[in-house]
């Protein structure tokens, strides 16, 4: 193979010397573009543009079913609408500018008997194409920010508090129970049996429910206040179908409010896919198994959800007694540390 490559290179070098010689003899400077080059390349650019735009439209239509899976959250439906408006606006600009760019290059090919138009500026024109984009962008900014404010102004009292906790390379979910408050946790309390480092001496922890295993349940139509944390490195909790994403950062809480609108069963019908499941993916590089850090998400009708939750054990019941006691003492020292 190396020999073929070497021979090929030698042949090309020979051919190039020959073509150079020929051009020297014919008297024209072969390495400056000639009329033939201009017309060939400008035709090429036109073809490229037409075929490229056609392929782009074709692919967009062909892959439509896979792009932007159906939004299954309240804000998701709204941001999808916003996204489509944005695509429409940038699509128009894209087509106009690309067509003008390639068309002008084709149309105004070099002709040595012609001069270009000496046209260094035109203030009116420049003003127009500064002001028009400004207006369009202002509209996009305003609509975008309105949506942003709406989705980020959560209602902490209404939302059901759910903790999503990332660690290399899996997720744990904790439900806050009837008091809708998560018990305190501290990373130095983490152990095999207490993966979240929950401080059992905090009364708010008494009704907390933790689910491991590879499934997380959410009720449909109930506002949820997610609280995200991480144990080790930064992870990012990404729910593509809910259009929800938030980083999980060690040492701090991050939040996201959302409301699921379609149950898993309904979605199976919508996508005509019996095996459909919502998914929670890690979307911040977090280590060698980053690509495998996922969890199945099941959206239930509220009644189904309550039933499922009742079947899950409270954290406090699952904890070994020895740990409960030891935990109490550590926790009190922790508390003093914090107080200091």
């Amino acid at each position: 193979m190396m020999i073929t490559l070497l021979l090929g290179t030698l042949v090309v070098i020979r051919l190039m010397s020959v073509s150079q010689m020929a051009s020297v003899l014919s008297g024209e400077d072969e390495d400056v573009a000639q009329k033939r080059d201009n017309s060939m390349n400008s035709i090429g650019l036109m073809l490229f543009m037409v075929v490229g735009l056609a392929l782009m439209i074709y692919m967009t239509i062909k892959y439509q079913p896979f792009l932007l899976p159906v939004a299954a959250s309240v804000h998701g439906a709204e941001t999808d609408f916003l996204l489509n408006i944005n695509f429409a606006v940038i699509g128009v600009v894209f087509f106009i500018t690309q067509i003008m760019l390639f068309w002008f290059v084709y149309k105004y090919q070099h002709d040595k008997n012609r001069r270009a138009l000496f046209y260094p500026d035109n203030h009116k024109l420049e003003l127009i194409w500064t002001v028009v984009p400004t207006i369009v962008l202002s509209a996009l900014i305003v609509t975008g920010l309105r949506e942003w404010n709406k989705m980020t102004q959560g209602h902490p009292d209404d939302g059901m508090v759910v903790q999503v906790y990332g660690y290399q390379f899996n997720w744990i979910t904790r439900y806050s129970g009837p008091d809708n408050k998560l018990g305190r946790s501290y990373y130095k309390l983490i152990s095999d049996t207490n993966p979240l480092g929950i401080d059992y001496s905090d009364p708010a922890s008494k009704d907390d429910i933790m689910t491991k295993g590879n499934e997380m349940h959410l009720p449909k139509g109930v506002p949820i206040q997610f609280i995200f944390n991480s144990r080790d490195v930064i992870h990012s909790a990404y729910f593509p179908h809910f259009r929800t994403q938030m980083n999980c950062v060690p040492g701090m809480d991050t939040r996201f409010y959302m409301e699921a609108t379609i149950t898993t069963n309904e979605m199976k019908g919508i996508t005509k896919n019996e095996k459909f499941d919502y998914v929670l993916l890690c979307n911040k590089i977090c280590g060698v198994a980053h690509y495998n850090m996922k969890m199945t998400v099941v959206v239930d009708e509220p009644a189904e959800f309550s039933n499922w939750l009742k079947g899950e054990k409270k954290v406090i019941d699952a904890a070994p007694t020895a740990e409960l006691e030891q935990n109490n003492t550590t926790a009190s020292t922790v508390n003093t540390e914090v107080a200091l």
Binding site: D31, N38, L68, T79, R115, I190, Q245, V249
Partner: protein, 611 residues
């Protein structure tokens, strides 16, 4: 004795010294191999050193991308050659998932810093600033030489980090802590990460030495008559780029330094409440988000450090080859200044999902979308320049047109990503990968190609082969769109970036054939660059001798002799009488009037506003 720039009398002394030095050299031209080719202080040689180093690094980084594209398209196949090539990382022909991340990381780092920052600014600022402003050399030849050698050292350290036992840094090119701070979290965060940091610090030293030099040269060493408003747009772009670098790179040093402290001295700037490897760490009170603020304070201006020189080169090439003045010269400068200013106050758009205060997020949405305005002005000005032009399609011109096309395509998707409400769903997906590879990667690399094809005659005194240039252009533009356009689709489907395999979620299975398509294009694009490399190195030795001014250009560099001389011009430095874009001026004898031609010699074409 020489006609020199007298407009800056304050620097007369410096000039005199410089001139004497020059005179000495002029009479006595014995240079050893080492002073001429290795420790050279001549800006033209240094520019070639930057370019060749960047080309080598680019091939390395491109090779890496080809390996991980194989993995992404054919996750179940084995490629036995991998084992012979990368040893234990490709055991049984299967790419190791940790090494995949290392490849992604080093690919990004090399491309962004070594190729598109060092390679682009280093090459063309060095070549063009002295030649286009009419200076004998850079303000400081010594600093300039050091700038290259720090760059070379940085590249070597980065390259060397590939060969260590635990593998190179692999936390992504942004190296966010805690991942990058804790070797327990990923093997690459051990010695590999240390070397990455060392390499970056060396790189920043290089960028700063270079940048200070570029600014000093543009401000102080312009020839007589070369006012700021007569500077070619290339020089304006290099000047603004250098200022951006000087203001933002030191912040990266700070970020890196604190990371070094956290890694080796037990401080807690970025670390808090971490339980890893079965034990809680003592670090407490730090914030990983602090690093991101510091990193992106450089990171976002960095995008423009990469892009502005490319736009500058394209402006010059487009105007020259369209035989038409650049439309809106002052608006072009103005928009570059506005972009540069805004680039410092938009960094938060990389951090919408870090839990930042939503109000702060809205401020960043606002500033980010403002960037689209000067960018739009630039695009419209390019298009207006082509309108009713007389276009010569040299390979450089084709690449410049490709740049504008990419700038539009990639810039527009930026409007979506800059909108926080929409970014939530697209953040860190392939949509982002598509966006920045088109707007920053491909645009900038096309600008660099345009620059190489256009100024090769000035660098090496020979012409590059035109036909190979066309072949290179066509394969490259088709493949670049073929690689990056479909990535928008994958991103919209919700596929995260930096995944070793997309098989984790069965919903992504339908996209596997898009991934195959992308990889095929990527491999063809990679092979096509061999055409360029061949053309480049062949033409250095065997290309046709270049004429004095092959593209009939107006700027000063084409008045310098084809055979390089120390000090650029053998006699006095030419004086400048007009702006650089007098192409196709009505009634002029030819369709270009070089900057050195006084108005008194062109009464037929002078216009009322000219004096």
């Amino acid at each position: 004795m020489e006609v020199r720039d007298n407009t800056h009398s304050g620097h007369a002394v410096a000039h005199d010294v410089h001139d004497h030095g020059h005179d000495d050299h002029h009479h006595d031209h014995h240079q050893t191999f080492i002073t001429k080719y290795i420790f050279s202080t001549d800006h033209k040689m240094i520019s070639k050193q930057f370019l060749v180093t960047a080309i080598i690094m680019a091939f390395l980084a491109m090779g890496m991308s080809m390996i991980f594209r194989l993995q992404l398209a054919w996750p179940d196949e084995t490629f036995p050659f991998l084992e012979s090539m990368i040893g234990k990382w490709g055991k049984d022909g299967k790419l190791d998932s940790g090494f995949y991340l290392a490849l992604v990381t080093i690919h990004g780092t090399i491309m962004v810093f070594m190729v598109l920052t060092g390679g682009l600014s280093g090459t063309f600022s060095n070549l063009l600033i002295p030649l286009q402003v009419g200076a004998r050399d850079m303000a400081s030849g010594l600093l300039n030489m050091l700038s290259f050698w720090f760059f070379a050292a940085s590249s070597l350290v980065m390259f060397g980090s590939l060969f260590i036992e635990a593998g190179p840094a692999s936390g992504g090119w942004t190296v966010y802590p805690p991942l990058s701070a804790l070797p327990q979290a990923i093997p690459g965060s051990g010695l590999g990460m240390t070397l990455w940091l060392v390499s970056m610090v060396l790189f920043i030293v290089s960028a700063l030495l270079g940048g200070i030099n570029y600014v000093a040269t543009v401000i102080n060493l312009r020839t007589k008559g070369m006012s700021m408003t007569r500077l070619p747009l290339t020089v304006w772009a290099f000047l603004i780029t250098a200022i951006l670098g000087i203001l933002s790179f030191p912040v990266l040093v700070a970020a890196a330094l604190l990371l070094v402290f956290d890694r080796s001295m037990g401080t807690s700037f970025y670390l808090s409440d971490i339980f890893i490897g079965g034990v809680p760490l003592d670090h407490t009170g730090g914030s990983p988000i602090l690093y991101q603020h510091l990193f992106w304070f450089l990171g976002h201006p960095e995008v423009y450090i990469v892009l502005l020189p490319a736009l500058g080169l394209a402006s010059e090439v487009i105007s020259t080859m369209a035989r038409k003045p650049i439309f809106g010269y002052k608006a072009m400068i103005g928009s570059m200044l506005v972009i540069a200013f805004l680039s410092f106050i938009v960094w938060g758009h990389h951090m919408f999902v870090t839990g930042m205060n939503p109000f702060l997020g809205s401020v960043f949405v606002f500033t980010t979308l403002l960037v689209a305005i000067p960018s739009a002005v630039k695009v419209f000005n390019y298009i207006a320049t082509l309108w009713k032009a007389n276009i010569v399609l040299s390979p450089a011109m084709l690449f410049a047109i490709g740049l504008v096309s990419f700038f539009i395509t990639g810039g527009l998707t930026g409007i979506i990503l800059g909108d926080s409400a929409l970014d939530i769903n697209l953040h860190d997906t392939y949509f982002v990968v598509a966006h920045f590879h088109i707007v920053m990667g491909s645009s900038a690399i096309f600008g660099m190609f345009a620059g190489v094809y256009h100024w090769f005659p000035r660098m090496y005194g020979r012409m590059m082969n035109k036909s190979l240039g066309y072949l290179h252009f066509w394969i490259t533009i088709i493949c670049v769109y073929g690689v990056f356009f479909p990535m928008h689709f994958i991103g919209l489907a919700g596929v995260p970036r930096r995944y070793y395999a997309n098989t984790a979620y069965e919903g992504f299975d339908q996209l596997i054939n898009i991934n195959e398509l992308i990889s095929v294009f990527a491999i063809i694009a990679g092979v096509a660059q061999v055409i360029f490399a061949f053309n480049f190195f062949y033409s250095i030795y065997r290309g046709r001798k270049a004429p004095q001014n092959p593209w009939n250009s107006n700027t000063l560099e084409w008045t310098a002799p084809v055979e390089h001389v120390h000090g650029n011009w053998p006699g006095p430095i030419p004086e400048v009488h007009r702006w650089p874009y007098d192409y196709s001026k009505p009634n002029a004898k030819e369709d270009f009037i070089p900057q050195t031609v006084p108005y008194s010699q062109t009464p037929e074409s002078n216009r009322p506003g000219d004096f």
